[in-house]
């Protein structure tokens, strides 16, 4: 339509967790430049300094109410290392059961309650209305009705996932049951059975409804398989140890750069702040030397998100990154849908090739990761020992360091703790969404979401529906 240039500012980007603004320049019907801005700062890293290290596992959960178990897991791993404690086998498995149940919750919540309204028309009442006059909703009436029914059912399913988390985690959001040294409650036969009964219900929903509907929506919006590519580089710290030595992980560790999977080295991570509201003296630091000095009035900056880079590259994190690096078999229902709806014979995730780097590719990756998590939980339910010890006591060290690496549903998560005189001297967090939603780095390289927005079709600047579709696929 419009051949001239127009700048669109979308603030708030809704149906995400937290505060985000997207500013795009549209020319010739496509996005030619983008700036994504995180609009809120709390300062957890500063608040943690001087505290008893064990308090960290509780405080950091309040970074995010959708994925508190991500932060408690990363914090526990950092403290496990600093305290020099090795988990019992059962402690490792119960942590996986707590953590895995929230993955299921998070992904289901994301597709249905955050993303779906981009493609589905909700009931004729708030908060589903009002909406853009031209929302580009293409599902036929019957399919839309099925999707709305699933949206409502998914509300109950995710609530049941939280019951699973609370079974051994104490309560959700913000579990009491994960601590340095393991978990606080030894599972009984009865509670394992209660967890398993709920898992059965969740599994059925994921296999029969969630995964198929993602592919169905993808097939109705085939053009969105070529929108949102981005830099095409990915990172995964890996998560869910399958053995006590953490030799094998359910979600593998690695980086995917310039088309190749490579080994990951945490020393190659640096955070840049030229375009972030932090003091310039703190730019280019690895987390071990990391500092967080907010400067809300810094000229030229446009975000409270720092720009983490791996070996200088802007890398995407999240289900797409993990599915590329792990490259598991696609789910049976996924393989069936690809054959029937896309005429594609695919067995492994990477058989999807370049199509994976897209809006729909990211939704498919998340659905496939949910299937992988079902297999994980099934396995841990078989391995967990009723009555087996889950906690190992350890004294607070005088001086120590610890690094906790895991994968939050949204992406790679790092907690680094430095203890001096039995208190936290430094605590640095490089969290999932900052890998994706960051502003330019010091060299001017765009962040992953900013880059993914380039080329996005915007036919009507008053109904720029594709902009937030790109963003929401990252689950920021």
């Amino acid at each position: 339509m419009a051949a001239g240039k127009a700048t669109i500012s979308i603030d708030p980007v809704t149906r995400i967790e937290g505060h985000l603004k997207a500013e795009v320049v549209v020319e010739g019907g496509k996005v030619v430049d983008a700036r994504v801005s995180g609009g809120m700062f709390r300062g957890f890293e500063n608040i943690l300094i001087g505290r008893d290290p064990r308090d960290a596992t509780q405080i950091v959960q309040r970074i995010c109410g959708v994925c508190p178990t991500a932060h408690s897991t990363a914090s526990c791993l950092a403290l496990d290392e600093a305290f020099g404690v090795k988990l019992t086998t059962n402690g490792r498995i119960v942590r996986n059961l707590i953590w895995g149940a929230n993955y299921l919750q998070s992904h289901i919540l994301h597709f249905y309650h955050l993303a779906a309204l981009d493609y589905v028309n909700g009931p004729n009442t708030a908060p589903f209305q009002p909406r853009y006059a031209k929302p580009d909703l293409r599902l036929d009436k019957k399919t839309n009705g099925v999707a709305v029914g699933q949206y409502v059912e998914a509300l109950e399913i995710r609530r049941i996932c939280h019951e699973m988390v609370a079974m051994f985690g104490g309560k959700m959001p913000h579990v009491s049951g994960q601590v340095v040294g393991g978990t606080t409650e030894i599972p009984t036969k009865e509670r394992i059975a209660e967890y398993a009964a709920r898992f059965k219900k969740v599994r059925e929903f994921v296999e029969k409804k969630y995964i198929p509907v993602v592919y169905l929506v993808g097939s109705v919006y085939k053009d969105l398989l070529s929108v949102g590519a981005g830099h095409k580089n990915s990172i995964s710290f890996g998560a869910f140890p399958l053995d006590d030595m953490s030799k094998e992980l359910l979600l593998k560790r690695g980086v995917f750069i310039d088309g190749k999977v490579q080994d990951f080295d945490p020393a190659k991570i640096k955070e840049f702040v030229k375009y972030s509201w932090y003091d310039d003296s703190t730019t280019g630091l690895n987390f071990k030397e990391g500092k967080t000095v907010p400067k809300a009035d810094k000229a030229g900056a446009y975000s409270f998100v720092k720009s983490p880079r791996y070996d200088g590259k802007a890398v995407e994190a999240g289900p797409l990154a993990r599915m590329i690096i792990t490259n598991p078999d696609l789910s049976p229902m996924g393989q069936k849908a690809l054959k029937e709806l896309f005429k594609l014979n695919a067995k492994k995730f990477m058989d999807l090739k370049d199509v994976a780097f897209s809006i729909m590719g990211r939704h498919v990756a998340r659905a496939e990761e949910t299937y992988l998590m079902l297999l994980g939980v099934e396995r841990w339910l078989k391995e967990v020992q009723a009555g087996g010890e889950t906690f190992v006591k350890a004294a607070i060290p005088d001086n120590a360091e610890g690094l906790g690496l895991t994968e939050a549903p949204r992406g790679s998560l790092l907690h680094y703790v430095n203890i001096k005189g039995k208190k936290i001297a430094n605590y640095q967090i490089v969290s999932a969404t900052i890998w994706n939603a960051n502003p330019r780095d010091d060299s001017g390289q765009r962040g992953p979401i900013e880059e993914a927005l380039i080329g996005t079709p915007v036919a009507d600047i008053n109904n720029p529906v594709n902009v937030c579709r790109v963003i929401r696929a990252f689950d920021p």
Binding site: I10, D11, P12, V13, T14, R15, I16, E17, G18, H19, K21, G39, M40, F41, R42, G43, N46, I47, L48, I49, G50, R51, D52, R54, D55, Q58, I59, R62, C64, G65, V66, P68, L109, G122, P123, T125, A126, P127, R131, Y132, L155, R159, H162, E163, V165, A166, G169, G170, K171, M172, P173, S176, V179, T184, E185, A296, D297, T390, F391, C468
Partner: protein, 317 residues
Amino acid sequence: MSLKRRDFMKLCTGTVAGIGISQMFHPAVHEVLAGTVSGSRPPVLWLQGQGCTGCSVSLLNTVSPSIADVLLKVISLEFHPTVMAWEGEPAMEHMYKIADKFKGQFFLAVEGAIPMAADGKYCIIGEVKHKEVSMLDAMVELGGKAAAVLALGTCAAYGGIPMAKGQLTDSMPVSKVFAAKGVKTPVVNIPGCPPHPDWIVGTLVVALQAIKKLGLQKGLAEVVKILDKAGRPTPFFGKNIHDNCPYLQNFKDSKFSATFTKKEDCRYELGCKGPDTNADCFQRKWNNGINWCVQNAVCIGCVEPNFPDGKSPFYES
């Protein structure tokens, strides 16, 4: 006929005959749902400050009424950044439109604390006509127009973690922001990190029932009567966890657990803050009665005004 305090207490504590904990709101819900046949779902605008969305996620966990019923039959959620269909400037303009159309009649729900440093720059919630809208500005403008404000979660009620030692943003709870800016709208604090969904829905549903019986002003006055000195509804926050704990006798007999996984004894020496914490978790439990912090580990006192600094270290008695 006014809503007697004992009726309110009965509804919240589930002692209405034959009704279990998870169904205790049925009488109130039934009445409120009946009212909605005439289309009178009160508008709710929901703002998020320096929060984590945990309060919203906890609310999603409501069992009875279901969250679907809450959204479709009890309230009209006209603005909520996490679930609403619209986005950006049109969503913000809709919010302002509702606030003006229902001035003095809508509820403002707030999760997260409000940073006052740098003119509110540490929390921007939107942009309208090329101008940033800070959480601080939104609180003053919308707070002044609301019938009442629900300060959900410990951050909004008392400051919580964003206001803890080491913070740099001059973070404040709703009541302190209102005091500083001269906003007189009544505030109901529903603390917890996060609050139990029953505490949120229960307070809302019973408030709506009182308003339906007595009209807006008198109904709100009834609700304000049952708030304690910290602004919390006493039916949920009037009992001390320690005094009602199943391990109280062990405490009295000096039988203390030495380690988390030894569940037979009192958790006091593991750091449990039950003695300094007032909430009905011991009875209501969490996540549909599955578990609760003291059974699973220890209480960290997350509903109290001095959380987290006054409850730290969490694992030392």
